[in-house]
Symmetry: C2
Subunit: 479 residues, 2 copies
């Protein structure tokens, strides 16, 4: 039995101890007949006066929760305790033998991945290099944010000044032209997609996603009792001709398909929009990776080509700063936005002011741009490193690049002559972990693959890590 | 047409301007035949070289987006622009006449309340006094938080150290005994309730709420396509005997019923749990207001009496610090918690580290307790002021107290001899706004009422404000 003592509230001490012991009895942590620690020992353990414990035990005994048996000590009473007795036909509240819960939660969602041990070389995808995080500007931004007085329930779309700054930034960096009123600031991209699916579809509706695709969004859709339809992806991105006509919403990653890296071609973009027009579908454009461009080729967002107001554009700061920042946004068509804000007011209300203000400072001070100019060069070099390595491995027949990546922090390949599982087993010995390719598929793919993330590793180590992957691929043993 | 220029990226300037103008044409903001500003004027406006604008216009003209007509100026081309032409049977991409959206969002949710003008005396409920906000400790906490390195996708239940601190705090202050593993940190109480409903119910399921009750939770339930069942409330709180047997989940506010202020009696608490046991129902206990106690009467949470693991306890920092902090938590039964965490990983992932760390600092430094000791006294005085006033008005027959409030930042009353609307109209003239009583009901109530919030006003002003309400109630005109 763990008991807590608050040294700052000595007067509340006996009440708190009483409550805690009662709760322990009520919940079955202390079982009938169990012996309590002696008042002397407990007083010593907690550093409180023995009289305090004696008072608590006395009250518990007076109410029949415990029984004093002289020198033998104090024991949890065997009878149903008096306070909860007599409630209409209720079972013993002690909970002995009671199941820890009788609820039936939604199950089947995989437990979130928590790395049990950090590999020596972490080449999984999904995170930028936290060693590049702009600590000093971030502290400056957080302090500036903390100096602003907090507000009540503010603007549920997000802080107006942040939305204005995001509108300017999206126009400048992505060609996404939006009024600040179209923008809803969210606790990351996933929350933006959650809001959009809840806003534009109903339970039982079909939501189309890419196959292979981003597993968390698939899980999100299923958790909302919508039906997932899988749309094949090739080197040109999602196949618009294979989007089911009955889909109400299509989730897609046009700039850098997750996980294949394919860039959706302009012809496909138009076809996807035309298909959506014909079938009255909404499109969620997840531009998760687009700040990390490695070529001059403009990745014109679907949003720019959308003329009928069916694209919801989603962006995030998880890939430019750190996932734990948890800030993103959705750009809705103008007449849809107020409904999105109303729904948001009923769901998570708004993200914390503190984070919104910090990001606002980071964006408007120019610190974010400076950070990105710096990291873009670094990631571009790493991307080149990986691309060169992939070309070499490809020439040797070990693998094939999935697509020509123009952006992002990972590269996907098809493997030849080795399964992903066998490769992973060999790499495990060498201390390298890649991203999972198989997990991005619902249906078993007709080929083996691997995902090489380079967000996490610094450049020297990347060479070393790729050398180890090469060794695992070619079957050369460590000397 | 608004164009944005980023002074920190001069080399990207012409590309950015090109993108923005193309997007304006593509989206129909610039219509065919419309005249662009002269390159000289635009260069002046944006503070850039005229040659830059000339280059952009030249490229747009070369691609057929715009047409130069000599001295008359540069005009948006009348033809369908070349890049988007030819897409399979698509309409003109210019969007002239196109509806701003073809999507059908979930409507019917009321637009969130944004006060158009702040009244002189804001006696609405729901927010603590922001003038009491602990600015200096908050800055200290935010700075401490900003000094911690950010992480990748971390623990989806919330930071482990924060969950440990919350477990200790809940045990000490509320008698809620929980392992840190049972706690999921959320972006406020509303997000905790959202997560719980999604976890424990399915579309079409019946979710019981209090009538009158807290409107945002009702809206949340409806937005999730669950069916809302209304359970009457009297001066002893929710009526367990009237909870429908087919409800899968019951949402309740036992400490300080929202809005009536009733404290759920111990007998009712047991009956509610017994009823839930019989019908296999989950209970969400929203303890939104309990840090603000005005009496020594212990408000034993349902959670303490729960022996079968069916209560999900929800707490928030919105009422102790500020709503815009957006941090709360849910305490799940131990075996349910991992499923809650898995679902949360698929929805909003986790709240921002920055806020979690700041709250952790505030809790563990003792600053939060110091803040609460200070504000509790202030709110207790205000509560007494309002209670005294209510007693006096009640003796005069103008109103009746709904319940004996033992906690919270608002008091609900039944009105006699005047409608809420008439009272509000009179108060509007006097510059006072109360909380809405009618909005807390789905069915029209058989009586008139009002909600007097005292979180927002300082004590002197509260006297003055209550004087004005008295004047409006008694119909005495201003002298």
């Amino acid at each position: 039995m763990d008991l807590f003592v608050d040294p700052t509230r000595p007067r509340a001490l006996s009440r708190s101890l009483y409550d805690q012991i009662r709760a322990a009895i009520g919940s079955g942590r202390l079982l009938p007949g169990e012996r309590l620690p002696s008042s002397r020992r407990l007083a010593d353990d907690l550093g409180v006066a023995r009289q305090t414990i004696a008072t608590v035990y006395g009250r518990l005994a007076a109410e029949g929760h415990v029984v004093g048996r002289g020198a033998a000590g104090t024991f949890v009473a065997d009878e149903i305790d008096v306070e909860t007795a007599g409630a209409e036909g209720r079972r013993s509240p002690r909970g002995r033998g009671a199941p820890p819960t009788v609820l039936e939660p939604r199950v089947g969602l995989p437990a979130p991945l928590v790395a049990s041990e950090t590999p020596r070389f972490d080449l999984r995808s999904g995170s930028p290099d936290l060693a590049l995080f702009p600590h000093v500007p971030w502290r400056r931004a957080a302090l500036a944010a903390a100096h602003r007085a907090p507000t009540g329930y503010g603007d549920h779309a997000g802080l107006p000044e942040l939305r204005r700054a995001l509108a300017r930034r999206l126009a400048r960096t992505r060609g996404v032209i939006a009024d600040p009123e179209q923008i809803v600031v969210t606790t990351g991209a996933q929350a933006a997609i959650d809001l959009t699916i809840r806003l534009l579809t109903r339970p039982g509706d079909v939501v189309a996603v890419e196959e292979p695709g981003y597993p968390p969004v698939r899980r999100l859709i299923e958790s909302l009792d919508r039906r997932v339809a899988l749309v094949p992806v090739d080197a040109d991105g999602i196949r618009p001709d294979l989007v089911p006509a009955d889909a109400r919403l299509v989730y897609t990653t046009p700039s850098h398909q997750s996980p294949t890296g394919a860039t959706l071609t302009v012809a496909r973009r138009r076809a996807l929009l035309a298909h959506a027009d014909r079938h009255r579908q909404a499109i969620v454009e997840d531009d998760y990776d687009s700040e990390h461009r490695h070529s001059d080729r403009p990745l014109e967002p679907l949003h720019l080509l959308d003329t009928t107001g069916r694209v919801v554009y989603v962006a995030t700061f998880s890939k430019t700063l750190a996932p734990s920042i948890r800030l993103g946004c959705a750009v809705f068509p103008l007449v849809v936005a107020p409904h999105a804000v109303a729904l948001r007011a009923a769901t998570d209300v708004q993200p914390s002011d503190l984070v919104q203000l910090a990001i606002h400072h980071l964006v408007t001070s120019g610190d974010l741009d400076r950070h990105l100019r710096r990291t873009r060069k670094i990631y571009a070099r790493r991307h080149e490193q990986v691309a060169d390595w992939v070309a070499r491995m490809s020439a040797d027949g070990h693998l094939t690049a999935w697509a020509t990546d123009h952006a992002g922090l990972h590269v996907a390949v098809r493997l030849h002559g080795i399964t992903e599982a066998a490769l992973a087993a060999r790499l495990d010995v060498l201390g390298v972990r890649l991203g999972s390719y198989r997990d991005t598929w619902v249906q078993p793919p007709d080929h083996e693959g691997a995902v090489i993330g380079f967000g996490n590793a610094d450049a020297e180590r990347l060479d070393e890590a790729l050398g180890l992957v090469e060794r695992a691929l070619t079957g050369v043993r460590a000397r």
